[in-house]
């Protein structure tokens, strides 16, 4: 039998990454129209999803208002978020990079703008991010809908009626909605 030396053989960390039990929990709160991510184990919240590469993660998906869809096209994964229930959803990101999370169930006026970034990073970077985030004070997170809604009120002909967007979530890390992303 051939023996291959690897820097970090999969046997050492326990089989294929997707076979292991998740160690990280992330609560995803979908709203009209923003995404909020809470890391209950570290006491961190964000409007940009940060994940560790090759590390299974367990999501708890909840919606505060209408149907939403948790959809990361680069992951080829999508899960409806249904108001009134918490949905468990596990995945294991396998490539580092900056991706895009989109809403995939029509959720009203700013449905198309309800997008944030997903950052898949190495274990060290992820641990450092969590540590740094926990020390930051709460501030308003990303909500393009809130920004557009305030500009819309100044227009003479603002269009048809809309549900007002929920206030932006108060989070440790707002993140950015303007950086180039891989997919």
């Amino acid at each position: 039998m051939e023996h291959i030396h690897q820097d970090n053989p999969v046997e050492e960390v326990g089989g294929y990454p997707g076979d292991r039990l998740p160690t990280e929990n992330v609560e995803v709160i979908a709203r009209q129209w923003s995404w909020e991510f809470r890391y209950p184990d570290q006491g961190v919240s964000s409007t940009e999803l940060h994940l560790q590469v090759d590390q299974p993660v367990r999501f708890r998906l909840v919606s505060e208002d209408v149907l939403h869809g948790f959809f990361v096209p680069a992951f080829r994964l999508k899960q409806d978020v249904v108001p009134g229930r918490a949905i468990n959803f596990n995945l294991t990101p396998t490539r580092e990079g900056r991706y895009r999370l989109r809403d995939s169930q029509f959720s009203g006026t700013w449905f198309a703008a309800n997008q944030v970034d997903v950052v898949v990073e190495s274990g060290e970077t992820h641990a450092a991010w969590l540590k740094q985030a926990a020390a930051l004070p709460l501030q308003s997170g990303i909500s393009d809908a809130v920004e557009e809604y305030s500009k819309r009120a100044q227009k003479t002909n603002p269009g048809w009626a809309t549900v007002p967007p929920a206030p932006p979530p108060q989070v440790n890390v707002p993140g950015s909605n303007n950086l180039p992303h891989d997919a």
């Binding site: 208002d65 209408v66 149907l67 108001p83 169930q105 029509f106 959720s107 009203g108 006026t109 700013w110 449905f111 198309a112 703008a113 557009e148 819309r152 603002p158 269009g159 048809w160 009626a161 809309t162 549900v163």
Partner: protein, 236 residues
């Protein structure tokens, strides 16, 4: 010797019958098709606005609320006011001829079903002009987003949308009855000289599905199971 005399040919019916309550399946067929193409033009105009907005990724031609409303109304119009009526039109024109029957099973029911189309069509188009604009939750109208009523008015675009679609369900139900009965009970009118001619029976599952979808009665599985009363009524 007397020459045989023939009765005067009947006067050509007036074109205005196409705008009246007419029970002739061929007239109803034309009525359906012409009305369907009228709504097709409206739906197509909305599609052009949608495509205009989509020329660029930015939301820059119309407001997001207007886009969602137009998108919803485009889908609704194309389904409920174009595809369904135009198929009804072809069925009215073709089925009686294909199975050798003089008319559809219930001509008056057939005409009533047609005239509901302009009624619910007007209702749907009128929803563009109520405060707050038309329905915006897509032609599928999933709750809870479809029951969010931003202005809180009793008469809302979404409410009018729902009423119009419910009326279109009544049309579909009546059409289903008319089809099932002519297929199962209209056999007496069949062309017995050409028993293997196309009978249009392939449409029966479709009509049965229509009835099924809206909770109506199941059509009989085969003609022998058809209640005899249906057959008797087929010539009303």
């Amino acid at each position: 010797m007397t020459l045989a005399t023939f009765p005067d040919s009947e006067p050509k019916p007036s074109w205005s019958r196409y705008f009246s309550f007419n029970t002739d399946a061929k007239v109803i067929g034309i009525q359906y098709i012409v009305l369907a193409f009228f709504f097709f033009l409206i739906g197509g105009l909305l599609a052009m606005i949608i495509r205009g907005e989509l020329i660029t990724p930015q939301s820059d031609l119309v407001d997001r609320t207007v886009y969602n409303g137009i998108y919803t109304m485009h889908g609704t119009i194309m389904l409920f006011l174009f595809i369904f009526p135009v198929l009804n039109g072809f069925n009215n024109l073709l089925i009686p001829t294909m199975i050798g029957a003089p008319d559809m099973a219930f001509p008056r029911l057939n005409a009533v079903a047609f005239w509901l189309v302009p009624i619910f069509g007007s209702l749907l188009i009128a929803s563009f002009f109520v405060p707050g604009g038309p329905a915006y939750s897509g032609w599928w109208s999933y709750p809870p987003v479809s029951i969010q009523n931003p202005l809180g008015h009793l008469v809302s675009g979404q409410g009018m949308w729902l009423t119009a679609v419910a009326l279109s369900g009544v049309v579909a139900h009546r059409r289903g009855v008319v089809w099932c009965v002519i297929h199962h009970g209209g056999g007496e009118f069949r062309d017995h000289d050409h028993p293997h001619a196309s009978t249009g029976d392939d449409l029966v599952p479709d009509a049965g599905l229509l009835l099924d979808c809206i909770g109506g009665p199941e059509p009989p599985a085969d003609r022998s199971a058809c209640p005899h009363g249906w057959r008797d009524h087929a010539v009303i």
